[in-house]
């Protein structure tokens, strides 16, 4: 019981600690791939610390929602990230929420982010919110379709159960392949990565995520940046948990499997981060109104996968 709680707590701390590292890792690797030296891997931590120490500048028109939204965004994302199994399955609170709840928690955080973008009453904030909600109208159903595929294969929407099923009964299935591609597309869009949005851009009319947080500064900005880093980590963990679940510790299996679990988790994150950056450096950003087609393809893939499973359980 106590150990279970400790493991659960450890996971919450672990995702929080690793999230900036993953982001810093992707930035460093990306710079190297672009033949730049780039910032050190720990740069994101330094940025966050610097931001937290600075005073927060609030626009004259900012309301209480603007000040409180960062914490709501952060906590919803953190809870969601803590509910995705990372290094061990069957965590103490894993039954409190399933994959649909994780999706919806991210929806809550996006809801507040979009509102925060509109609070000060600037054109940039509005454009960011509007586009973010457009993407979400396609990304969210695509995500639900992915949930359907995975849940129909594994017979559960609980992530722990899914991970265990995938390890024990791993077979190659067409629908799972479709779901994987769809999930990668959704993850790229949700994390504002190329080709949907450019995480390195500022002051550009096609930006989405950065436009919403343009008015934030100081600790508020730090909290939102941390939430964004957590979201990237969450999607990596999600892909890892569903499609590469090997190496995760089973419930109450002792200390050594936990260590192995953490080690494989870090390796998975590093591999995922590297693949992400490799993909990003080899493709150009698309126009904002091409993105709905890109996301629509994820929705269609997810739907096709679900249909295959409904029609025949063997695909």
């Amino acid at each position: 019981m106590i150990l279970d709680l400790l493991v659960q707590g450890a996971q919450m701390i672990l995702v929080l600690a690793l999230a900036p590292l993953l982001l810093g890792f992707t930035r460093t690797v990306k710079s190297r791939l672009l033949r730049r030296r780039g910032p050190p891997v720990t740069q994101v931590y330094r940025d966050l610390l610097r931001l937290v120490r600075k005073e927060a500048v609030l626009a004259d028109d900012a309301s209480w929602l603007f000040r409180n939204a960062p914490y709501a965004i952060f906590s919803a994302t953190w809870v969601a990230a803590a509910l995705v199994p990372t290094f061990a399955t069957g965590l103490h609170f894993s039954w409190a929420a399933d994959l649909i709840v994780v999706t919806a928690l991210l929806g809550s955080s996006r809801f507040f982010l979009a509102l925060a973008g509109m609070d000060v009453g600037t054109a940039f904030g509005g454009i960011g919110s509007s586009r973010e909600m457009l993407f979400s109208t396609l990304a969210e159903p695509a995500m639900i379709m992915i949930v359907f595929v995975v849940a129909l294969v594994a017979g559960s929407t609980q992530l722990s159960e899914i991970a265990v099923f995938m390890v024990d009964h791993a077979t190659l299935r067409v629908s799972l392949g479709l779901a994987l591609i769809a999930l990668i597309i959704v993850a790229l869009a949700e994390n504002a990565r190329i080709p949907v949005d450019n995480p390195a851009t500022h002051l550009e009319l096609t930006m989405v995520h950065e436009a919403m947080i343009l008015e934030y500064s100081g600790r508020h900005l730090a909290v939102i940046e941390l939430a964004a880093a957590l979201k990237l980590l969450l999607y990596m963990s999600l892909i890892g948990c569903i499609f590469v679940p090997w190496g995760m510790a089973r419930p109450s299996s002792g200390f050594l499997p936990l260590v192995i679990g953490v080690a494989t988790y870090v390796v998975k994150l590093a591999a995922g981060g590297f693949l992400l950056v490799l993909f990003e450096t080899s493709i150009a950003k698309m126009r904002v109104f091409r993105a709905p087609e890109f996301l629509g393809s994820a929705l269609m893939l997810g739907f096709l996968g679900t249909l295959l499973l409904f029609v025949s359980r063997s695909f």
Partner: protein, 672 residues
């Protein structure tokens, strides 16, 4: 006997309605307080009785027969589990709307047009739910329609409201006609109008199928099922806001009650193709409703279209329940039915909050057009807070209640590969995709509604000078929001309260939920899926507090106010903000060509011409164009032709009468 007490309360409501005109000579505020207070008391009485009946504290099984109505029929009333659930829903909404109206009604310009009809409307809705024979059901239904119509027409000096009233009256009469025919078919040749007799009789397949179609027309038109929804976004916003809340939050649920009562209870065992019809209509309704909602500039009309969406979601749940019931899968059928009823209940809670909020905004600024609002979060903090909560709940975000019911519907969809019919194997995943799509669009819709109305800077002087709502209004809104939260984090008790209904209608029930550890809900089995709203809520609460604490204690808590940054070019003019139309533009661009045949025409003046450029945006309501415009055209054309009959000579009239007489005699001769 509980039913007797309910009828006493209903009679009291009628008495209040009858006495209302007499109070009008007094000061307006006092009359309103008196009437609405009395309505709230009567509704509270029914609410308590219904809760007691639902939770099994009192036995409410018996039928009460009153010598009312047609002499040889009598009127039967009964509270069973289904009626008790909907009584709770109706009267919770009734109490909330009445208390809200104590404050809100003071601003009513023509109280004499609202006060007498309001108690009668509540009484009508209650009577529909407790009626146990077709005759009293139809009378009560018609009462409900006509009183609400009267209140839609309260502000009839506005031409738009008159049109709304006209369309509503036509659709309501059409709906009642369908219901009349449905009950006629169910009663059969013997003509026994009691529900008990209909339930007992065996119906032929074609009779049951036709009854389903007629109920979809009759109850569906009242609930706002596409393509019968056209009156709803016109009529609901036209009424005073507390009545809008009742019409959207409660009256659509009474219509759903009528559908469930007949299709699940009276029409006998369903055929599997029924679910195909219901699922298809439900999915289309959900998506089309929310697509319209996201384009609206009128706040109350936006809410009315979102009601259409939620009715669609309820019908998706009901369709799934029919599919499982037809295949004798009692457990999944109970899950789907419970989810549908749960969603109906949830919708009545948050839609009331939202309409109350829209009413408060309307009172404070005199505007329904969100393009003229903005920045109200600073001027109306209490209303803004409750409205934000309502938006979160209706956008199906955890840990509030809207999420739980949609989660349960998704869980029911995940059980449906076991259905044997091929049509359903293709349809159910599509319905699931439509449901998810509608939920995501609802998120966008309510970010837009809240963001444009309450955030940013005021776009008109009225919005800049707005005052917060009165204590009654904000108190009621916050109480309802509290209920949304409690239901969202402790859904177990609601699900268990719906236990007897699914027992009654689908012959099975979900496993008992309220004794599970950590108050999680487990629809099928723990290894399949579970959700604990309480735990998620606590997690969010604790991590928020923790984050705030850590940052404030160990880092900076300094704040400096400065002009907005806006990339270095802040513009003080509020017109430079993003508008509601610009917010909807990306969505319109992606979905508009398909859903609305949207067209944008830009006329640019030639170079050197200083006249302004024009941009004309046209959206078409395809449902209206496809179904209603042709019908209206045909009716008009026939009326035009028949117009000649009014200008004939006396000889022509005499010969017409003679011809009619001969025709009738011939018909009688042939028939006999």
């Amino acid at each position: 006997m509980p039913i007797a007490w309910v009828l006493v309360a209903v009679a009291a409501l009628f008495a209040i309605a009858a006495l209302a005109p007499m109070t009008l000579s007094r000061r307006r505020a006092e009359a309103g307080t008196l009437i609405y207070g009395a309505c709230a008391a009567a509704c509270t009485l029914i609410l308590v009785i219904a809760l007691a009946a639902l939770l099994g504290a009192v036995d409410a099984g018996g039928t009460l027969v009153l010598p009312l109505g047609l002499p040889w029929l009598g009127a039967r009333f009964r509270i069973d589990a289904l009626a008790a659930v909907f009584l709770v829903l109706v009267d919770l909404g009734g109490v909330a709307a009445s208390l809200y109206a104590i404050g809100y009604g003071r601003h009513e310009s023509a109280p004499g047009r609202v006060l007498p009809f309001y108690p009668a409307f509540l009484a009508g809705m209650n009577l529909v739910v407790v009626a146990a024979d077709a005759f009293s059901f139809l009378v009560a239904w018609e009462f409900m329609s006509l009183t609400s119509w009267a209140m839609v027409m309260a502000h009839h000096h506005d031409a738009e409201n008159r049109r709304a009233g006209y369309v509503y009256l036509v659709m309501a009469s059409f709906g009642t006609l369908s219901l009349l025919l449905a009950f006629g078919l169910l009663a059969g040749a013997q003509g026994d109008y009691a529900f008990a007799a209909m339930r007992g009789a065996a119906h032929a397949d074609w009779v049951a199928g036709t009854v389903l179609g007629l109920m979809l027309l009759g109850a569906g038109s009242k609930a706002g099922l596409v393509p019968l929804h056209v009156w709803l976004p016109l009529a609901h916003p036209a009424a005073p806001s507390h009545v809008s809340a009742l019409m959207s939050g409660v009256m659509t649920k009474v219509a759903i009650y009528g559908f469930v009562r007949v299709v699940f209870d009276l029409a006998g065992p369903p055929a599997w193709w029924w679910s195909v019809v219901v699922l298809t209509l439900g999915s289309i309704t959900a998506v089309l409703g929310v697509l319209h909602a996201v384009m609206q500039r009128d706040l109350k009309r936006l809410l009315a279209y979102s009601t259409v969406e939620n009715v669609g979601i309820v019908f998706i749940g009901l369709g799934l329940a029919l599919a499982f019931k037809a295949n004798a899968m009692a457990g999944p059928a109970a899950l789907a039915l419970t989810a549908a009823l749960f969603h109906a209940f949830n919708h009545s809670l948050f839609k009331s909050i939202l309409f109350f909020g829209a009413g408060a905004v309307l009172t404070a600024t005199g505007k329904r057009d969100i393009e003229a609002l903005g920045g109200l979060i600073r001027r109306m903090p209490h209303v803004a807070y409750a409205f934000l909560g309502g938006c979160l709940a209706i956008a199906a975000l955890p840990p509030l209640n809207g999420f739980v019911s949609e989660w349960m519907i998704l869980q029911a969809i995940l059980l449906s590969p076991a259905l044997p019919q091929w049509g359903l194997k293709f349809l159910v995943p599509a319905a699931g995709a439509m449901l998810a799509f509608a939920a995501a669009l609802a998120g966008a819709c309510f970010v837009r509604a809240f963001g444009i109305t309450f955030l940013g800077r005021p776009r008109s002087p009225e919005a800049a000078g707005a005052q917060d709502g009165d204590r009654w209004s904000t108190g009621v809104m916050k109480t309802l929001l509290g209920l949304c939260l409690v239901v969202g984090i402790l859904p177990n008790f609601v699900i268990d309260a719906l236990h007897p209904v699914s027992d009654l209608l689908v012959g099975g029930a979900m496993p008992a939920q309220s004794l599970l550890p950590h108050l999680s809900i487990v629809p099928i089995s723990e290894s399949r899926s579970s959700y604990s709203g309480l735990l998620v809520f606590l997690f969010i609460l604790i991590s928020t507090r923790l984050a705030i604490r850590v940052i404030h204690d160990f880092a900076s808590r300094r704040v400096r106010r400065a002009p907005a940054w806006d990339c270095g070019w802040p513009d003080p003019n509020p017109a430079t903000q993003y508008t509601a139309d610009s917010f909807a533009q990306p969505l319109r661009r992606v979905f508009g060509p398909m859903a609305f045949r949207s067209r944008i025409e830009a006329t640019m003046p030639p170079p050197g011409d200083p006249s302004p450029a024009r941009l004309v945006l046209s959206l078409r309501d395809l449902v209206w164009d496809t179904f209603y415009a042709p019908i209206a055209g045909i009716v008009l054309a026939i009326a035009e032709k028949l117009n000649h009959l009014q200008f004939l000579t006396i000889r022509s009239y005499l010969s017409l009468v003679f011809a009619a007489l001969v025709g009738l005699l011939l018909m009688v001769a042939v028939w006999a």
